[in-house]
């Protein structure tokens, strides 16, 4: 099993969610996060005092999948989240040791 962790622009969340639903992904977890990469922050000026806002709001999506879904999921997220400008985000892939469905106690791939 793999966890796909994607940091994307907040306004792209709906597009990504719908695209993943279309290929058959049935659940995900999202978090509102802040951070910066190559996009850097932006500058705000109040009566001449300049403040650099380093951390920009982003959305983190976490999806747990079976190994053979990996390429499809990554391609789908890339396609849906892309604007072509700096700050589109990043995708990380992490190995998952196990999973349990709380209601039934199902384990492993049956739980996802």
């Amino acid at each position: 099993m793999k966890k796909v962790e994607a940091i994307i622009k907040p306004f792209k969340l709906d597009d990504v969610k719908e695209a993943l639903n279309e290929i058959g992904i049935q659940g995900m977890t999202i978090t509102e996060v802040k951070g910066y990469g190559r996009q850097k922050g932006h500058k705000e000026i109040y009566r001449g005092a300049e403040y650099v806002v380093d951390f920009i709001p982003k959305i983190k999506i976490e999806v747990i999948i079976e190994d053979d879904w990996l390429d499809k999921v990554i391609d789908t997220i890339c396609e849906a989240a892309k604007t072509g400008k700096l700050g589109d985000g990043k995708i990380f892939v992490i190995n998952i040791e196990g999973a349990v469905r709380v209601r039934t106690g199902e384990k492993g791939k049956d739980a996802i």
């Binding site: 000026i45 009566r47 001449g48 005092a49």
Partner: protein, 430 residues
């Protein structure tokens, strides 16, 4: 030329008599207008200034800013009817203060008349000026002053600084006798509050983290609304200062709006050129800068002069808060000195340049053949600033002794004054 001076001499002879006659008659039109104007000026403090300042303070200190502003209005209202009014407008004692004849408003009744309006109305109108002046000082000290110290400071400052200066300029004191022109409070309100704010912020010291960490305004929306309410109230402030419903009041009304508008544009365009962004905070600040600068000049200058006064105020205001303050390194949190002090000084000087005898007879500036007025204005500015600076310093040290220091604990400052002093918070954000 000879006949003209003869005419002036006759006119001067008539003044005492004309006043004696006028003092007995209440004019209903004048009275109605000044009651409305007083209500307009009232709105400036607990609504206009409270929101203007509140929006600029950090969200953890927003309620503290509002509480200090609104309580300043209450304190000044009480101090004024107890002894403030009589110190400012009681019978003159040596050009320096008014006598205590009207302490607790003794001796003033419904039949008392000041010029053409009831004395109660005059006293109320003047009271709203005392209220806003002490509240303006807050702009320099927000985010770090003890609330108890603020209360003691405002009582003392109104008594020993504001009331005497109001007497000098408007109550028959020496600055008025000298012939200084201050229509609605360039000296009394803006220079006075601006300099007092500067002194108080220098004694208090900088806010923790000033210049290192970002200090975001809690809501520019509130600040913009506050500026709009200040602008609205300022019509009463300036057009009301004629103390009559007449042509000069109409002229003051017009030039007040003109100066505010061009001041806002001037600041906004300057900022747009210098930092590439036309900000709402800049527009709102420029409007206030224009209003401050036209205040001493409102009943003396024409529309063309108002355009210049307002435009220059926008530039000076921007320069003093965005450049000068950072160069000199003091922490005037919301720029009471940068805006009210600097633009007040500009307005008082501009009155000496542009005063036009076609608006108010006998009030002429440099450009209307009276270069001496510039010197008189200069002396009045220096005297006001010097007295306020020294007097405020003394008041601060007395306050310090009474309340055991004037600055909040470091821990409280970090936590925010809304929760540490008042046990409240401005917004439920989650």
């Amino acid at each position: 030329m000879k006949t003209k001076s003869l005419f002036i001499a006759l006119w001067l002879l008539l003044i005492p008599f004309s006043n004696a006659f006028a003092q007995d008659v209440i004019d209903s039109g004048d009275t109605a207008w000044i009651i409305v104007a007083t209500a307009l000026v009232m709105v400036m403090t607990p609504a206009g200034l409270a929101l203007f300042y509140g929006g600029m303070s950090r969200s953890k200190n927003l309620l503290n800013t509002l509480t200090m502003t609104i309580s300043a209005y209450c304190i000044a209202s009480v101090v004024w009817v107890l002894w403030g009014y009589t110190i400012a407008f009681g019978p003159d004692k040596g050009g320096l203060v008014g006598g205590l004849d009207h302490i607790f408003m003794i001796g003033i009744g419904i039949d008392s008349v000041s010029d053409t309006i009831p004395t109660f109305v005059f006293a109320m109108f003047q009271m709203t000026f005392a209220c806003i002046t002490v509240a303006l000082v807050l702009g320099s000290v927000i985010d770090r002053m003890k609330f108890s110290s603020w209360i003691v400071f405002s009582v003392l400052w109104l008594t020993f600084i504001y009331a005497p200066i109001a007497h000098w300029v408007w109550g028959g004191g020496w600055i008025e006798e000298m012939g200084a022109l201050d229509f609605a409070g360039g000296n009394v309100v803006h220079i006075n509050a601006g300099v007092a704010g500067l002194v108080l912020c220098l004694v208090l010291g900088k806010r923790l983290g000033y210049g290192k960490e970002a200090m975001f305004p809690s809501s520019i929306t509130l600040t913009a609304l506050g500026a709009a309410l200040l602008w609205f109230g300022w019509f009463g402030f300036n057009a009301g200062s004629q103390l009559a419903a007449d042509g000069v009041a109409g002229s003051a009304f017009l030039v007040t709006n003109t100066s505010a508008a061009i001041g806002g544009l001037s600041w906004m365009f300057t900022e747009w050129i210098v930092t590439k962004k036309p900000t709402l905070l800049g527009l709102a600040s420029g409007i206030v800068a224009g209003l401050v600068a036209i205040t001493p000049a409102a009943g003396f200058v024409n529309m063309q002069a108002a355009l210049i006064i307002g435009a220059v105020a926008g530039l000076f205001g921007y320069y003093s808060v965005a450049v000068l303050k950072h160069k000199l390194g003091y922490d005037d949190s919301l720029d009471a000195f940068g805006l009210h002090g600097i633009c007040g000084i500009w307005g008082a000087m501009a009155t000496g340049l542009f005063a036009n005898p076609a608006i108010t007879e006998g009030a002429a500036g440099l450009f209307y053949g009276n270069p001496g007025q510039v010197w008189i204005q200069f002396v009045s500015i220096i005297a006001t600033a010097a007295f306020t600076a020294v007097g405020t310093l003394i008041v601060i040290y007395i306050t310090k002794a009474i309340t055991g220091g004037i600055r909040v604990d470091e821990e409280d400052e970090i936590q925010g004054l809304d929760s540490s002093i008042h046990g409240e918070r401005a917004f439920e954000l989650d």
